[in-house]
Symmetry: C2
């Protein structure tokens, strides 16, 4: 079992970060502008990504848990084969004037090359989340930095 783990500190309250993780407007502000669906527990959120004006795929996430300002848990119900069934969680805690985000993407069967890519990409999106909450402006897809030489992302 191999997991993708990340941590960022955001100069804000956990309530503000929680909003950015649980509202369509918030999610569209840091992950991908093309965010649709139902963010309530049991609902499914659709995240779609594009490059050069062309949609290149995305993920459908079922919202499994929402613990106000403490934890958000999704399960991947559609997307790349390696992601199906994976769980993605954001644990939040306040530390002084900072909201600490502990991120986990669990359920990878093998540490494939695509997992390496997703790990780097998640870090970049979490920095976008930090920027959104701290300054009001994130870098969601399609405005995210490209990290793959040989692909659109």
């Amino acid at each position: 079992m191999v997991d993708i783990l990340h941590r960022v500190g955001i100069k804000s309250s956990t309530e503000e970060v929680y909003k950015a993780l649980t509202t369509r407007e918030g999610l569209a502000g840091w992950w991908t502008t093309n965010t649709q669906g139902d963010g309530k527990v049991g609902g499914v959120l659709q995240f779609r990504f594009s490059a050069g004006g062309v949609e290149i795929g995305g993920f459908d996430m079922k919202v499994l848990e929402l613990d106000s300002a403490r934890r958000v848990l999704w399960q991947v119900v559609d997307g790349p084969a390696e992601w199906i069934g994976n769980k993605i969680s954001f644990e939040l805690k306040q530390s002084g004037d900072q909201a600490i985000v502990l991120f986990k993407h669990q359920g990878w069967k093998e540490p494939v090359e695509f997992m390496h890519h997703c790990s780097t990409k998640w870090a970049i999106y979490l920095m976008s989340l930090k920027s959104l909450v701290e300054s009001g402006t994130g870098s969601p897809n399609p405005n995210d930095p490209h990290i793959s030489g040989d692909g659109p992302d």
Copy 2:
């Protein structure tokens, strides 16, 4: 066993990336400006970090393997307790006009919060490596983005 994994594509040759991973000037251009020591196999490189003009610690890495333009392997011989004995590798391969870097930081005993932090931070430094090789300018410490709310880094 839990590992930190990352992948970036760099518009360059593996030879150029290898240079940035194996020379003091290269390493100082993307990881930390305060890089000292001996980068040959069996030598030890000293990486030191600072924030607000104050040194906050660092890592000593023994160079275990240098496989020209294909692989660089270090072992941590001094630094934070969680890092001691860990292995850090950069695998390089050419894919068209891109050098692909597969990064691994292996040897963590537990997925502690500090590991989450280091995972995010490595992604940011690898983006700095990409920027250095592609544009000539990286963002090594102390010019790296801060990601921790409650610490200097």
